[in-house]
């Protein structure tokens, strides 16, 4: 456990972007909250304010989550490649740390530690935003943002998203680690070309689209499994503000579908495939001392 703590610290030393990027996003969003426009261009009722409040609070989180997904993928793709490229892998391998511990630390950093840092940054920024909006437009909007129940929902949603995306996208994570442990150069090409080649070969020789369908399903299948969509009317409410029709989640609790997610076979097939690729990355790490 002690060793793992040092290994994770090491990742934060090497990849300072892990906390610099969310800090910058937070700063920009806070400036936006300070000087941006906050009225919606139409008068809204107290009921409508309450309805929109969760969406307003979620908006910051989505921004952080979008950036986090890109950064985390990039981190996973590079993490086992850069130290082979600069040959520092020989220094790390001179220490009593197993290759499995190294790879699992990178996995943990990519799918848990980095999302948690962004979660923290999103939380602080959202809090600041709520505070600023309260000061600037208390009568208009601010008061509805301070509902403890709303904040609880917000935190539950973040943690739910971190856990479920970690499981659902484990094949992608595994593939990123595998490429990172394998490539002698051009990691991005190794990332993209093999799936593309598989797709092409299958299409030309068999006329089928199994690979393509699997990839599409993995990319698009997360939301319908982990969340209720509009087919669950209780989860959503609609209102008209000015000329716009706004649909907003009525409550995060009614959106989350953990049972549907956990009972979907595709979730666990993905976990198995991802775990196999992570195992492969560990085996490659054992054997590849250099690029």
């Amino acid at each position: 456990m002690h060793t793992y703590m040092w290994l994770v610290r090491r990742e934060f030393w090497e990849n300072r972007a892990i906390w610099i990027v969310p800090a910058v996003i937070g700063a920009v969003l806070t400036i936006a909250a300070l000087f941006g426009r906050i009225d919606l261009g139409a008068a809204i009722s107290a009921e409508q304010q309450r309805m929109i409040a969760p969406t307003v609070l979620l908006a910051y989180g989505f921004t952080f989550f979008a950036v986090m997904s890109i950064y985390s993928s990039w981190y996973l793709l590079e993490c086992l490649y850069t130290d082979r490229k600069d040959r520092s892998v020989l220094f790390w391998k001179s220490l009593p740390i197993t290759d499995a511990a190294t790879v699992l630390t990178k996995l943990f950093t990519g799918v848990i530690a980095i999302p948690l840092v962004y979660f923290l940054a999103a939380d602080v920024s959202t809090l600041l935003m709520a505070f600023i909006v309260s000061m600037r437009a208390h009568a208009y909007f601010g008061s509805v943002l301070w509902q403890p129940e709303l904040w609880l929902q917000l935190h539950a949603l973040w943690l739910y998203v971190i856990v479920t995306t970690a499981l659902w996208f484990l094949p992608l994570t595994g593939w990123l680690l595998l490429v990172s442990a394998w490539a002698k150069r051009a990691v991005v090409l190794w990332l993209v070309l093999p799936p593309l080649a598989l797709y092409g070969v299958e299409h030309w020789f068999f006329g089928t689209h199994f690979v393509g369908n699997q990839l599409t399903e993995r990319a698009l299948g997360y939301l319908p499994r982990a969340f209720y969509d509009h087919s669950n009317p209780a989860a959503w409410s609609t209102t008209v503000i000015g000329t716009d029709t706004i649909t907003a989640p009525s409550s995060v609790w009614r959106l989350l579908n953990p049972i549907g997610f956990v009972s979907s076979p595709a979730t666990w097939v993905g976990v198995l495939v991802g775990a196999a690729m992570i195992y492969g990355a560990i085996q490659l790490r054992l054997r590849r001392a250099e690029t």
Partner: protein, 281 residues
């Protein structure tokens, strides 16, 4: 006490290219062994196998363990520096000390600090800000602060100037080496390590050519400078190498009859570098 390193039929190939060809050798505890050979001879492959960095065929035991499957456990008692300074550029020196102290049970922080204090390198600096020679010094300090039973150095002084080389080898012999430790060292600069080695392993084209302690060199090898008029007679004793020197020819013999050799001139113990040249030319 079993040998510290024991290799039997150690073989390593890259595709069809044989880097190590059924190599046999042992390294005993408390020795300073020079693994010496030209580029591409298999030195690095042998070290990589010993350090658990690569899979191989044949039998290999290092500190009683099979190295490839037990690299992490092996590194608790062994340490190494690969051929050039390979510390990551983003690492701060104080981070390096904290990290190694955190993960290595035998790392002695005070020792690392004492070694670094001699170099005027401050802890807040990142590796990328250092010159090549300074990087090597930091790496050496980190490695020598580990209480290892086996220290493997692959071209440790590459990129260091002559003063730094000398002080490194002085520190290695005077401060670091004791009877509990064993050092395996490879270098191109044979002259530089000649005086500190206790054993030599010459490797060429994937095979061990000479495996001998320094003390045994005098018993096993001889060099005699022979005048031209006696050259034919001396060649009859089958030297394995000869080279001209100051109007005479120096002949090199293995397992010679010392009594017969004495008739041709003064019999000398060849230096390690002479023996290296003689054996590998």
């Amino acid at each position: 006490m079993p040998a510290l390193i024991e290799a039997r039929d150690l073989t390593k190939n890259y595709g069809s290219q044989l880097a190590l060809n059924r190599v046999n050798f042992t390294v005993e505890s408390g020795r300073i062994v020079g693994l010496i050979g030209p580029n591409g001879a298999g030195k690095t492959s042998a070290l990589r196998a010993i350090l658990g960095l690569t899979a191989y065929r044949g039998h290999l035991a290092v500190l009683g363990r099979e190295p490839f499957a037990n690299r992490a456990a092996l590194m608790r008692e062994a340490s190494f520096i690969a051929d050039v300074a390979v510390l990551p550029s983003w690492l701060k020196i104080e981070q390096a000390i904290d990290f190694v102290a955190g993960v290595h049970p035998r790392f002695r922080r005070d020792r690392a600090r004492a070694l670094l204090a001699k170099t005027q390198i401050t802890g807040a600096r990142r590796i990328r800000e250092l010159s090549k020679g300074m990087k090597t010094l930091v790496h050496l300090a980190l490695t020598m602060a580990i209480d290892a039973r086996l220290l493997v150095l692959d071209e440790p002084t590459l990129g260091l100037d002559i003063l730094a080389r000398r002080s490194f080898y002085d520190a290695l012999v005077n401060d670091y080496m004791d009877e509990t430790r064993t050092i395996l060292i490879t270098t191109h600069q044979v002259e530089e390590v000649e005086n500190l080695l206790t054993d030599v392993l010459f490797i060429d084209e994937g095979r061990i050519v000479v495996d001998c302690s320094i003390d045994d060199i005098a018993a096993r090898y001889a060099a005699v400078a022979v005048a031209d008029d006696k050259l034919v007679e001396a060649r009859a004793l089958r030297p394995f190498y000869e080279r001209p020197q100051l109007g005479k020819t120096v002949l090199y013999f293995e397992q010679p009859d010392f009594a017969k050799l004495a008739a041709f001139g003064e019999v000398q113990r060849p230096s390690v570098s002479d023996l290296f040249v003689a054996k590998l030319s």
